[in-house]
Point group: C2
Chain length 222, copies 2
């Protein structure tokens, strides 16, 4: 192949972070409304340009803190999107990450530049800026696959939770119903959970035992 006349191209590198949480037993993703062109007023995945001296992981972490104030978090690189046409401003490659945070830790963002920021149910996603719908679909498929062979859902839950919260979370992520008894059996057999001994301050029904993950580190199984 003759490459003599073809030019290399410096690209801008952005890092986008898909921030997921569970609220009201529903899986939600944090989106921002863009203030500037291109795609002004469109909703988009939060992100930003890579800064001098910053690693990709550091940039993802910075964006996450900027938007949510959360630091104790599960964060994983997802995929890199680099189609030459994906950004009208020029060649921009986006390294996408996904983050899982417990809703309770979320604090309103400090960043003044963002005009608006909002949690969207994954069942109700509008048309997004750039190729962000595609990125979100990719993130969801990774998340769905990964909950099947790892404990990463710990990132979505508070320290202590009811068993039914955990089950509901799996049901929402996997988009299918699970049998209560089989689910409990399997979860206990994996040996990742422990009872806290405490019970929820309950409603008009039998109070539920509260559980926690033995370890808030990623564990793979199967």
């Amino acid at each position: 192949m003759d490459t003599n006349k073809v030019k290399f191209e410096k690209a801008s590198v952005t890092v986008d972070v898909l921030i997921f949480t569970v609220e009201e037993r529903d899986l939600k993703v944090l989106l921002v409304k863009r203030a500037n062109k291109p795609f002004a007023n469109s909703w988009a995945i939060p992100g930003g340009f890579l800064l001098k001296g910053e690693s990709l992981d550091e940039a993802a972490f910075r964006i996450l803190i900027d938007k949510t104030g959360v630091t104790d978090v599960y964060l994983e690189q997802l995929y890199t999107f680099g189609d030459p046409e994906r950004d009208p401003r020029g060649r921009v490659a986006t390294v996408s990450y996904f983050a899982l945070i417990p809703f309770k830790k979320f604090a309103e963002p400090s960043s003044p530049k963002v005009s608006e920021i909002k949690w969207f149910s994954i069942k109700d996603i509008p048309s997004l800026a750039f190729d962000h719908n595609k990125i979100l679909r990719y993130a969801l498929s990774r998340l769905r696959a990964k909950v099947g062979y790892s404990n990463i859902v710990y990132g979505l839950l508070p320290e202590r939770f009811r068993f039914s919260d955990l089950q509901k979370l799996y049901e929402v992520v996997l988009n299918k119903e699970l049998d209560k008894r089989n689910f409990r059996k399997r979860m206990f057999n994996l040996g990742l959970l422990e009872s806290t001994g405490e019970k929820e301050v309950s409603g008009a029904h039998r109070p539920a035992m509260l559980y926690k993950f033995k370890s808030r580190e990623v564990v793979f199984f199967d």
Copy 2:
């Protein structure tokens, strides 16, 4: 966070492709000896800068063809490495891919710029340029995980192969021995293979039936 005084940084984007094959029942990866600085004379993963108008996948494909002449191939994006210190020339983010090719299709490369090119057994990898040892370790762990729940090994095998070739391949990739009867049972149960009806032109032993994958498309199972 005050970002007013921090500068954005344009980065060069390179695409590196880990090209795997099986030869002599051993898993091998293609490395090139670098002609130029930095790391002149070190072995490295083949790669190159992203060209104008080219998508990441296209760049990976171009590099692969350039080095091997192979076009019918399994190719998958792996991970993006972007530490600010990883290349002494400046900020370079590398999007890594891995490719699986059947050894028979390999043709000597047409590219005149490469000083040397060589297959290395994965058991015998030297110290590589940049952070390429780390990238290779990552690729191997992805490959090992993925053969467990997909049929991607089809990419490493010729059209028709003996069952024992397939088993040996799994053993090399997973670095452990497998039981012959259980392995055959499982493979047949997955329903991805079919007999070609033909037998190998054999050596001093009973001739082996030759099999092929029903589909040379990625299939996931489990």
